[in-house]
Symmetry: C2
Subunit: 281 residues, 2 copies
């Protein structure tokens, strides 16, 4: 039971999309009331609130920002679109730095229009990371390549497995580029235990996110992630594997679930914390 | 362009679910009118029509039945449920034999209630195949293990990759147990080219099915498969790979798509045939 101290939340981080009904001030208040000291933020609500203002709010509320979601979407072929994507990613790095977030998550993007080959698309991801990594490193931000479930391979993320994410990350220094281990995206893959060992040996686990897998999937398959313990993922087994691989960082709860969004935020957070203690620790 | 003779449909088989709005007599008439001589059938409409009656209809219409969908769903843990699943699978074998279908497709089934480990569930699939294979072989029916996309791993099919399907199939004689290569389920996996070579060397490709991958996925993710050419799958590349691996069998078009089901069946079949010629041959 590595990492449990006091309230058991020493490594717990709440990704704000789990309780997206909360504007940033409500997030800060709700976390303070629940004894939560770490959050993962998303660019859109931070931009809407104002980056510096959000950074001050988090600081004044005693909250650390564990990650910023998300950069990426840089698989465009057309040069102008590609340049625009890289510009936007540099802005994301700047925002992460302003928030004091050590990690910027990257969701790579999908196939280009009419493209039918994932291999060159993944190469474009690697090329973009090569351009972005030094910029991020100079600002104290580590990039974290996130493999998404294969059901997103065509339109959202051509990086579908932990192995593919590591294949890209390992081209760069470990302190500049790591990977995300997200239980929702990876649970089905028999190669993940070996991938976690490989990631741990290289010091590549930049972020560990937890959500459960439940069915039926909703239309668009974006907002059907399961509350911890409601699904079929061995969450504790995952946590024990990343721990055994040497990971000592945050355990970020990121659940996109329309049912959770329709409820009172404090009630949801209390439930998430309870489930975290019972199913992850 | 292996296998093209005359109308280009020498290897073409229409899986009946592609035009599920057609009752069996309409299927027979529509195929005859379009020069299609092979069909893949499903158990429910065959049972509804009567197995022997369906077999006679196909025979009288000059149609060969290339496969019967589907057996499987034998991952239950509880002995009575397991026995019932095996009984039902023996009935499926009998139906395939009555139809003259050389192949019974197997969709394995999902995790048991509360189960959080795919490995023992896959072992139960292998155990069930071991019980079923001699029964099927004695009746001239070959079992074909179908890997389904990982988005179905929890509730429909714990066999998610071609490699996993081959790992099970290779425990049995090749003439008794093969695998299904379905482009919709496998297109995202970088290991598939090597898997097709492995399957070909072992004579394990029992069925080759084609559908395209399109997004957004619908609720439940069952009926959102793409018309050939509408999506991102390199269908011709797949066909060339299975051909290069020595496969000379049918190319079965199986598209679950609510849009196709809402249209006139003959119009859909004409479009499918046109797309097949343009995107698969």
């Amino acid at each position: 039971m590595t990492g449990i101290t006091g309230n058991g939340l020493a490594r717990f981080s709440l990704n704000q999309e789990t309780i997206r009904q909360w504007p940033l001030p409500a997030l800060a208040d709700g976390c303070a009331a629940a004894g939560v000291t770490r959050v993962g933020l998303w660019r859109a609500p931070v931009q809407e609130y104002g980056v510096e203002r959000a950074a001050a709010l988090m600081r004044d509320s005693g909250l650390s920002v564990t990650s910023l979601c998300r950069g990426g979407f840089f698989t465009a072929v057309e040069p102008a679109a590609r340049a625009a994507a890289l510009d936007d990613n540099r802005a994301a790095v700047d925002e992460a730095a302003a928030l004091g977030a050590p990690t910027l998550l990257l969701v790579s993007g999908g196939l280009a229009d009419g493209e039918r080959d994932l291999v060159p698309a993944r190469q474009r991801v690697a090329d973009a990371v090569a351009e972005l990594a030094p910029y991020a490193a100079a600002r104290g931000v580590r990039l974290a390549i996130e493999p998404l479930h294969p059901m997103y391979a065509s339109d959202r993320c051509v990086v579908s497995t932990l192995g593919q994410a590591l294949d890209i990350a390992e081209r760069f220094p470990a302190e500049q580029v790591g990977v995300v281990v997200d239980t929702y995206h990876l649970w089905w893959d028999e190669r993940v235990p070996a991938g976690i060992v490989r990631a741990g040996e290289g010091g590549r686990i930049a972020c560990f996110q937890v959500a459960d897998w439940v069915t039926p999937l909703p239309e668009g398959v974006l907002v059907g992630r399961g509350q911890l313990g409601d699904g079929c993922v061995d969450l504790r087994g995952f946590r024990e594997q990343v721990d055994a691989a040497g990971y000592r960082g945050d355990i970020e709860v990121e659940i996109f679930n329309a049912g959770l969004w329709a409820r009172d935020g404090r009630e949801v957070l209390a439930e998430v914390v309870d489930r975290y203690r019972r199913h992850v620790l």
